[in-house]
Symmetry: C2
Subunit: 178 residues, 2 copies
DNA sequence: ACCGTATCTACAAGCGTTGTAGAGAAACAA
DNA sequence: TTGTTTCTCTACAACGCTTGTAGATACGGT
């Protein structure tokens, strides 16, 4: 995403008007690494402009997304997350407990569709989502997490249930920053 | 996912009761490769059991998901998709116009988080989502697709806008089946 | 066949997001 | 500055997907 000043020019160049509300949202997004939801942007913006409405936030975020200045992500946390980092191609890691999202800087050149019956898809992009637990959720709730899993396993009983998406397990690292 | 008969036993073994509605849903899901939404399962089930309610479909799909017999996916199409294929680890390709979802059978052993400032995530799984256009949407709407993109580009004007997620472009193949 | 309990349907409400209308402010020209 | 046009604002209501509630119904073990 560009700087608030550059976004101001960009908006004007596209026939959009620049208001105090929008500039406030520009500033909120600037350098934000948390992939905030619209609600989170709303909360942050409201600390500057108390009367801003949630609809305005959605409107501006959608405008920025149309202009390619931010990315709107759906990583399965129930609401759209917005990522101001469009300069560097990257992927994401999502905490499956608290929904925290962070960038993962790496390109995986080996990712391509395998041979086989041709489905005829013309693929334009591939995104990788890592799922796991963030440091905070690991520290704060590892016991209850184990209990939850145990309860599910117990309920399943002797019928060997397979927990979905439990392919690989490893403690790994990711680059921070945006 | 197991056969309807096996699912019947599994449900009973877990204190769940087996009704005509549920068995109907079992049969609908059996061998389904389309990653149906709850609504789609509802429509299909209603052809067998006319009085089934959408709530029952959600309930049963969630039960199956808890038992690990199906996967609930959020691939950004606005509604949860359900995948009866839990036997083989796989990824997905999504049509960004019609929302069609298909399985992609491949493992990408090189996918892992890179070194860098440790975010402390403990990652349990990695999923890859390929996005593009399916054969039908390519054939039926390539012109309007171009127009849509052109309109957006025109609206952006001389302000060099970057279309999100336009990293790689290639026509590729994927294996069908579930 | 009986009974306890899970499940059914119908209805309504929840959540995130978007449409609508009238008031208000930005942009640009004179 | 002033005016005019157009876009944007807020507030409110509605949308689509999903889940909670209540009473009726059906399962399943005895």
């Amino acid at each position: 995403m560009r700087t608030p000043d550059e976004l101001t020019q960009l908006f004007r160049a596209n026939g959009r008007k620049v208001t105090a509300q929008r500039q406030c949202i520009f500033r909120v997004l600037q350098g934000d690494v948390t992939h905030p939801s619209a609600e989170a942007v709303f909360e942050a913006a409201r600390r500057d402009v108390e009367t801003i409405s949630l609809k305005t936030v959605y409107q501006t975020l959608n405008d920025l997304s149309e202009l390619g200045e931010i990315l709107s992500l759906d990583v399965g946390t129930g609401m759209t997350r917005f990522d101001p980092n469009v300069e560097d191609a990257h992927h994401h890691v999502v905490c499956r407990r608290c929904g925290k999202v962070r960038d993962v800087y790496a390109d995986f050149p080996d990712i391509s569709l395998p041979d086989g019956p041709d489905l005829g898809f013309e693929v334009g992009s591939a995104e990788v989502i890592f799922r796991g637990l963030c440091a905070e959720c690991l520290a704060a709730g590892i016991d209850s997490a184990e209990i939850d899993s145990a309860e599910i396993e117990a309920a399943v009983g002797n019928a060997t249930a397979r927990s979905p998406g439990a392919a690989t397990t490893a403690t790994v690292t990711a680059t921070a920053g945006s």
